[in-house]
Symmetry: C2
Subunit: 340 residues, 2 copies
Amino acid sequence: MVKTSTLQDVARVAKVSTATVSRTLSNPDVVSESTRRRVSEAVKVTGYRINRAARNLRTQRSHSVLVLLPDLANPFFSTILEGISRILSRQGYSMLIASTKQVLDSGDRLTDYLDDARADGMIILDGGLDPDVVEMLENAPQSKRVLFACEWIDGANFPSVRCQNRQGTRTAVDHLYDLGHRKIAHVTGPEGNVLMHTRKDAFVTELGKLNLELKPEWIIAGDFSLAAGCQAAQAWITLDDRPTAVFCASDQLAMGFIAELSRYSFKVPNDVSVMGFDDIDLAEQFIPPLTSIRQDRLMIGETAAKMLMERILAPNEEHSVHAAVLPVSLVVRESTASLN
Amino acid sequence: MVKTSTLQDVARVAKVSTATVSRTLSNPDVVSESTRRRVSEAVKVTGYRINRAARNLRTQRSHSVLVLLPDLANPFFSTILEGISRILSRQGYSMLIASTKQVLDSGDRLTDYLDDARADGMIILDGGLDPDVVEMLENAPQSKRVLFACEWIDGANFPSVRCQNRQGTRTAVDHLYDLGHRKIAHVTGPEGNVLMHTRKDAFVTELGKLNLELKPEWIIAGDFSLAAGCQAAQAWITLDDRPTAVFCASDQLAMGFIAELSRYSFKVPNDVSVMGFDDIDLAEQFIPPLTSIRQDRLMIGETAAKMLMERILAPNEEHSVHAAVLPVSLVVRESTASLN
DNA sequence: ACAAAATATGTAATCGATTGCAAATCGGAG
DNA sequence: CTCCGATTTGCAATCGATTACATATTTTGT
């Protein structure tokens, strides 16, 4: 193993002290032109790479951020990660990834990463944490460096980034209404999930505003997954008085719903209009292409990372934005149609 | 900010030296029963958490592994990450994520993470690296701690984990043959990709073995994406003598292919049988459910992490497995049917 | 030309854990 | 009771960078 060279080596070659080398590297303005050149040259000659472990120890910064997902295997998050990573790497930060399940199952606390200097902050994409875990988070001395994205915790006061869930839901319902639909069902996310409640609530409210009937059985409990969408379809089929349109709380739900319907020879949108939420990549390629509410996952990631970095780099300042709510938009494709 | 307690604090409370505390924590057998108890008590009282930055510096280990993806936004990798993370966290290691594009675009070398003590090893899921980047990797002193998964570099000698690409391709072709198909097309991955070449090559070979005709235009160039699948469908449609079955090098290709066909009112599998490769989650829910070659992404991740950890923890030993080739299996669903 | 201010560099302490070596303690044999 | 080896513990150096403070050097003003 070739030993990599250290600041000392560079200092020796450049005939200056390690302090000067350090300064040259992190704050070039304070050293003279000539030493700056000598040091740069020495760095090149020695092939010096900074040792992050040493710097991290000395500066009390890990220069990395932990992203906590509910479930690593869920592709919904990949674009968000891309957004986060872009911002972080631009600031010289690295991105650590773990799943809340894995961390908690192993008996660790979520804040361990912060406590033991592995991460300077964390972005949590999981609103389904146990209340006692949340309480611990809130009371932790590092709670200032915790931020939620996509989902959030009702009643807690963490900074967060989310999309316009209510507005998106309203837009969806209005779209179906404009197409002539008057009997509209909703397939929800999982019980206890904040997005589920927000969207369901907005759905009910909007139907009320439009003076539409809403039978209790038109709210079908699901959980964002394909499988739940299939089950919801079964439920829809058995209804006496079938709604002519269905607003699903996620694209996956909508796809499962449509897939299952097709097994029973129902046609979308001819027999029923179906909408999703999220506008994942596949929505466009699905058959039929899915009408959905688009949320910009890249921007969610970027915004979250920016907000967190602000808090890490200037922990004592007041930060203008506490909850960033990003716009959504209606994407009309072929899974919804006028009521004929 | 509450300062977290250090080894010193624990030592003071337990009335022993820091050396003893350290030993108690990392190697309990060498300390006496009584001090072990005193130290554990002191740890509890002080709420001590080890400072990883300090340990990393002293031990010259970062206790983390970098996973390099070609593209963070690609959901294909999420399950693999889950597998990697499981193994790593079990060994007290963390998982850093970055994309090769981002790293290289920012002017850094891939080995920087290794050189500057940010990571003890790396798993690369990107076989599309530039030859000069590969050469640099090979000649780096840390090349022993680099491992490829899913894809690999032809001609280079890095340890790797992959699935049975040839066997899978053969199985796919045989399946179509058994259904009576004699004119079979192939939609390939991106030019230059090792998986693309391996699968194409195996495809051609197997057709030869079965004495099947293969017109050059029956090999349609693609790139694993949905969009490429759509284009491939266009190409297929314009053929005079259309193959009755199509083997796509990825599920995404197959989905795009089918989606596009349906826009032109072709029915799958009635008008043409279509197969994918990978068996991603969505394959099952697609309409029609996709016949595919399944690769176990969780196991790919776990195997890769295990192999890398072996090499990190015992760098000088000979390691039994250099290239792990994991089994694939045929999953028959409804996108393929007998030629009638 | 000289004092004061501004700029550039060096010295050495520090971050917090690990570990080689030395010292202390213990147990048992003679 | 003494001595020897084994077991336990402590001392202090170390990993490699950063930075407060001291010192040296240059510039500026009069």
